[in-house]
Symmetry: D2
Subunit: 295 residues, 4 copies
């Protein structure tokens, strides 16, 4: 895979991300019984960016339950990750928790009743908990870089605020959001973190239930329909499994009952999803017969 | 289910459909090993309307393969079934084969090189073949009713024609489309017809392969992400299985490897999908543990 | 002006219009006291296309008065001449009578209660009346050409029909509309035809009042804000007078109290307005000090 | 006029504006030869809000000339004053200088190369200069109120910033913008301030030329096509003169060569323009025969 010439383009709109080696490639698979297969730069931390939305969405569902759906929808948007058009048509309610506006609304809910530092600590601890690894950290340089340049996200947040969809001061919500996106994890850590979604909400290593089985299924459903912005249909069509991508080049993919997979390759396709990452996951899913659309 | 008070609203925009008994309710399940469980008005033919799009899409994929994707996309639209806004932004290429514009483009491809009567005969014979029942017919009164009032579809077709996305005269393509939507089938017939999608493309009764296994998976993927218009995310979230609805009140649902299910209840919800039908399928999927999003 | 190299592009979407000599250029000015100054191909008939909308709008205002505004708005659209997006947002009511959708809605009102042939005769006679010249005719080849290829207009008409904004069968309304656009007139005839708009609704040659003074003012106001599609602001900014363009390359311009002007040059700019025609009118308006925005 | 029951609704989205007496009504007319006719609350200062956009636009045209048009268009938007949809379609370039986004872009240009305090001083001095009255001031309470609640404007500004359309930090540009909108003037002062637009750019009282005659005409043209958001066509149709409204209930209207008029009535119509103000101006324009659309 590393020799493949067309790797897509590394995201440059967050300056700090543009420094990443475009030739990096890592893959980690954890099967249901806990076996790990991995390769390439699978232990090198990268900026998980929007993959973090899966976990903040999980946290907010746990705290707010169905009340969450008053602030965000669960339909595919048919629009790019940072589109604002849909917000104007639907009075500030984002289409789903995996586009930027929706994830900011989710983060705002997690922040409510807390100081930013506490909320961020809670998010980080949740990430460390689900992957059972306390070494997960926030890359402050990436967070600062995004904070300096995240005008599009500031537009989305202010827009929602004008409709009363955000509770907290815009700057505070964005501060937490940018830091959450700047969480750095390796493929191995990320695959471990997604394991509960493949196993009915339980983490067999820790023996703990992260979410009820039904909720794990529902999170997977939202990942499948909305996890790749306006490339979600393509991912479902080609790969046939729930997944969530980030502009750092990472993708988390869940094969329910079978495996949790993380891939990392920084070059992105036009829809903002890892180009080689998606190809690798398509190939893996086909060889393993993991598609959820046919036994 | 029949006693449930809130049944939604019967579609009235096709006058002939407004005559249907709103209290009708039918359900049919065919399991992988061929057992049939059914109840209610499960043998009464109803207008399958947009459920027909699954089968014309299957036919066109068979004839054109990946060339089909030059005429239609495979992303959720984030819009109602008859929206035209997306077409203007994307130069006449419909988002997916399950919104009206996309289905009209697919029917146009099936019509190419044929007389309308031939193309329609081919579609009808395909429906009879997949459900192994020659009694499937076209309700001419419904077709005529839709032809008289289908201005929105005529707008979509003319719009695509102006971009060169349709090959045939608009009137002919629409004529075939309105007749295809007027195919009348019972729940039992429809469940049988969908069986190949649950069984890797094969129909065990006839012993014939309808499509290759990979194609069956891909059709299911498009059904899951796009099968319920701007209620597709909701169906995936609640039911967790691929499905395709029609404004006649029918829904075809596929549990890969396990069952093909058809339900019919004419009252529709706001997104134009059968209200009780969806609730029945959600309940069935949960009790049977059929969701594809968690083993 | 004829030597100017950049002439824009002749409209090709109506095949018959593409045959016009791109080097043609005509200009005719009629002053308040009836003097005519003209030059170039000022006596050669050309297809007035959307300039006809000024006159059908005038006719419909006369017959329906303010009831007309139930079918069409009077705000600039901010969109190209053939956009359909705005119609979806505003339930089939076109923004103004000078975009295609609005002009079709106006023609539909004129058709109501008549046979198409009668309605068309009435429109043609009105054109002959206002320019006091019975030789104005309809170019059947252009009408037929547009009828064969006018899919975008058919989309607009069917779309409005689906919202009940049109009363008559779509084909009949479009038939009248395509013929009205195919009216052929010379610059001299067109300048004469617009004279009543410059002179408080009266035609001094015939001595007849075409419309009340207040209505003439209001028609001019709609021409200024909406007469050049999404180039209306540009025309107001540069030329400073009400005007209406057509894709045949003609523009009618009114200098209230001073003159009626028609120009013809087939090459169009990006907004679909005559490129040299607009430049000529800008130059004329400046030299004569005709701008309505400063004494 | 004061007794008229339906006065529209006072703007409440800026809390401080909601405190204004809804029954206030003032009118001031200054004719070409300097006579002043006024009545009602014509000497009471009110928040001019968006009327200020006429003057910052004038300043920016003076400093940047046609380079200004690289940052903002001059076409009607067909959208409400605070719409963001158009910005996404047109890569962050606002349609015209009189919608909020466009005015923010203009203010950003005025700010460039200056400290916010300097830029604001320059704007205030220009207002004092054109109305020849040093008592014009900025209402800090209104500015502070808008700064606390102007999330929609912050969304617009951040959105443009993400496309590089703003040069300065968003907070600084918005700070100047909110203060400029909070300028308080009476009808008499405002009518005086607009006088140069009626008189070919000259101010006869001071004897100074504010702008060249051609520029005054062009500013009037933009006011006519864009001065009342998506009610601009209506104002042109009914009143027939260039005008610019503000959510504080003020409207500045220019009768070229004849008069400058200011009206103030805080109740707004659906498009955000002063309800009684517009009716008063329509009545005045008709009685005086001032419409620019018919001699």
């Amino acid at each position: 895979m590393r020799g493949r010439p067309d790797r897509g383009t590394v995201a440059t709109y967050i300056p700090e991300l543009a420094c990443v080696d475009p030739a990096a490639f890592g893959l980690a698979v954890i099967t249901a019984d806990g076996e790990i297969a991995c390769g390439g730069d699978c232990d090198k931390p990268f900026s998980i960016q929007s993959v973090s939305k899966v976990f903040t969405f999980t946290m907010a569902l746990g705290r707010y339950g169905n009340l969450l759906w008053k602030r965000v929808g669960r339909e595919p948007s048919g629009s790019p990750f940072n589109s604002i058009v849909q917000l104007e048509r639907e009075r500030g309610i984002p289409r789903n928790p995996f586009i930027n506006a929706g994830a900011i609304a989710v983060t705002d809910l997690i922040l409510s009743g807390h100081q930013p530092r506490e909320a961020l600590g809670e998010i980080l601890r949740f990430m460390q908990f689900v992957c059972d690894d306390p070494s997960v950290y926030i890359d402050e340089a990436v967070a600062a870089s995004e904070q300096r340049t995240g005008f599009r996200n500031a537009a989305l947040a202010n827009y929602m605020k004008s409709f009363g969809v955000l509770d907290n001061p815009v700057d505070l919500t964005l501060g937490v959001y940018f830091h959450q996106c700047a969480i750095a994890m390796s493929c191995v850590q990320l695959a471990k973190a997604g394991r509960f979604l493949a196993l009915q909400g339980r983490n067999p290593t820790t023996g703990l239930s992260v979410v009820p089985a039904e909720r794990a299924r529902r999170i997977n459903a939202v990942m499948l329909t909305c996890g790749h912005y306006d490339g979600s249909g393509e991912f479902a069509y080609r790969v046939g499994l729930p997944g969530k991508s980030g502009v750092g080049g990472g993708i988390l993919m869940i094969a329910p009952g079978k495996a949790s997979v993380a891939v990392w390759s920084p070059g992105l396709d036009d829809a903002g999803n890892s180009h080689l990452g998606r190809i690798a996951l398509e190939s893996l899913s086909q060889r393993m017969g993991w598609s959820i659309f046919g036994a």
